[in-house]
């Protein structure tokens, strides 16, 4: 089991000062644009040279400024899937995947990898004519067929439509389980981080600000929450699917949502804008909202004429109200409230 460790202090392009440890599984490097995520990724890949630091993969030292070690990119065995992962457009999918196969019958190995990513039917298709999700599958197969000891992923789901996002997300979770190597996923998309990450490293201005699980760091009030904006990013397990509704578990709070394109047992990510829920001091009868969640106010912050209330349901939810509403309801930490949320407010 190889572990990737990287301590990087400065690069010519960006004042990075980061120490990162990624075990097998998906480590998400999360941060706003300009936080140094891409620079970090390129340094691990070997495309840029840090001013100082050390990068090691298992027993192998890839870079060590003190000992003057700088293993060239092609010997690092670090795979990469860039954003909008372009297979080589002049080759068909099979040749793309075969490109990095190190030994044996290359075409057969390529075919078996295409099968593993569910892209067997695309073997003879050229890179230039594939859809976003198809490209992502081919690029994943191509990277893994070269037997890397770590895999870097650059916002793998960001360019995809909803249906492909679900499929490629599920594929990534499967591959991560089977590959047993560290996957380092770089993204500024909280949804991607939440859906795919086992661990999250939060980067801001080139420094690690917080580390933990994606759910805890991205939850309202969590260390990375402000980067996620005013939206509640929720990771949910599907419990039951009915024709026009679904029931999901947010991790202690069960809610009703609109229809979801996922069978029971799967993990989906949902967005709940903070402006959507309604707060009440007691039970309200005769409303259309399908969710009526009892909770306790854990914090209030007022900024620019909006009060941001965090309610533990017990899953924390961020809810925006006006200062007048907050005063009239007498909201304060410890106050019991009811959170009313329409099923359709949870966006897949």
């Amino acid at each position: 089991m190889s572990v990737l460790s990287a301590a990087i202090h400065g690069t010519a392009a960006f004042p990075l000062d980061v120490s990162l440890r990624a075990e097998p599984g998906i480590t998400v490097v999360f941060g706003p644009s300009g936080s140094g995520k891409s620079t970090l990724m390129r340094a691990i890949l070997g495309a840029i040279r840090p001013s100082a630091g050390r990068i090691a993969l298992g027993e192998r030292v890839l870079f060590d400024s003190e000992r003057g070690i700088d293993v060239p990119l092609r010997h690092r065995r670090v795979g990469i899937v860039f954003q909008d992962a372009e297979p080589f457009p002049h080759m068909d999918a099979r040749r793309n995947v075969a490109f990095g196969v190190r030994s044996g019958d290359r075409a057969r190995r390529a075919d078996s990898w295409l099968a593993r990513v569910g892209a067997s039917a695309l073997a003879a298709r050229r890179g230039a004519v594939l859809s976003g999700g198809e490209r992502q599958r081919i690029a994943l197969a191509r990277a893994l067929a070269a037997e890397p000891e770590a895999l870097l992923l650059d916002e793998p789901l960001s360019g995809l439509e909803l249906a492909s996002r679900e499929q490629v997300g599920a594929l990534l979770r499967t591959l991560r389980r089977e590959a047993r190597i560290p996957f380092v996923l770089v993204t500024h998309d909280p949804r991607e981080a939440l859906r795919l990450g086992d661990r999250l490293v939060y980067l801001e201005r080139g420094r690690v600000v917080a580390e933990g699980t994606p759910a805890e760091l991205l939850a309202p009030g969590g260390a990375a929450a402000h980067a996620a904006g005013s939206t509640n990013w929720l990771r949910a397990t599907v419990i039951e699917i009915r024709s026009d509704e679904a029931r999901v578990d947010l991790g202690g709070t069960v809610v009703v949502t609109g229809p979801l394109p996922a069978p029971p047992g799967t993990i989906v990510d949902l967005a709940l804008p903070a402006e959507e829920p309604i707060l009440a001091r007691g039970e309200v009868a005769g409303v259309s909202a399908r969710n009526s969640l009892p909770g306790i106010v854990s914090s209030l912050t007022e900024r620019e004429g909006v009060v941001s209330v965090i309610v533990a349901t017990p899953v924390p939810l961020r809810i925006h109200v006006t200062p007048e509403s907050a005063r009239e309801l007498g909201l304060a930490p410890g106050v019991k409230v009811i959170v009313l949320v329409k099923a359709t407010a949870f966006r897949p």
Partner: protein
């Protein structure tokens, strides 16, 4: 006269184009891929034959290669025609190659390297095929330019019928000696070839 000039011109243009394709691809790629101090100065020097009067280039080559320079037995030979055509068409290939490699997504070469490809393999299996359209256009333009080379050829290779008299030089001679039929025929021939090359370039550019 026409047959000999045509045959010489085509041979010269082919050999010059082969040399220019290799040299221009390498210089174009080097300048596209590496940022170094003085890059644009180098680029300017490589592009110079495009803007200098061909006679200046031809005279410079004559001085450089001839008795007062390197003393090579090249001036006024078949090789001189090739040298003149190659030097004059080189900037077109160099520029086309530079643009072609600059437009190439650098992530493809990074990916190729991450998959264990050597630089040579990455160049031949990824970069060249991806840059092929720009390179092909450069090759076609270089060929047309080499075929039509006049000024530098006249100074470096002279105008020896059957030995260094290329098509454009034959046109020059035919017009001087009042052989209007031959001049017209040669003009039509060269115009036809040029149109064919331009159409080819346009087609390469369109086929994406």
């Amino acid at each position: 006269m026409i047959a000999a000039a045509l045959s010489l011109s085509v041979q010269v243009a082919i050999v010059a184009t082969i040399l220019v394709t290799i040299a221009g691809t390498l210089t174009g790629r080097a300048l596209a891929r590496r940022a170094f101090r003085g890059r644009e100065v180098v680029d300017t020097l490589l592009t110079l034959p495009l803007v200098l009067p061909p006679t200046v280039t031809g005279y410079a080559l004559l001085v450089l290669l001839g008795r007062s320079g390197l003393g090579l037995p090249i001036p006024f030979t078949w090789v001189a025609c090739v040298v003149a055509a190659a030097v004059m068409s080189f900037p077109l290939m160099h520029r086309a190659a530079r643009v072609a490699f600059e437009e190439l997504d650098p992530r493809h070469t990074l990916t190729a390297a991450s998959l264990g490809a050597t630089r040579l393999r990455s160049f031949f299996a990824v970069e060249l095929p991806l840059a092929r359209r720009g390179l092909a256009a450069g090759i076609a333009l270089s060929f047309a330019r080499g075929l039509g080379e006049f000024g530098a050829t006249l100074l470096l290779a002279g105008n020896i019928p059957g030995r260094t008299q290329t098509l454009p030089l034959a046109v020059y001679e035919a017009s001087l000696t009042g052989d209007d039929r031959a001049a017209l025929l040669l003009c039509l021939l060269l115009t036809g070839v040029s149109i064919a090359v331009l159409l080819l370039v346009a087609r390469i550019g369109r086929s994406r």
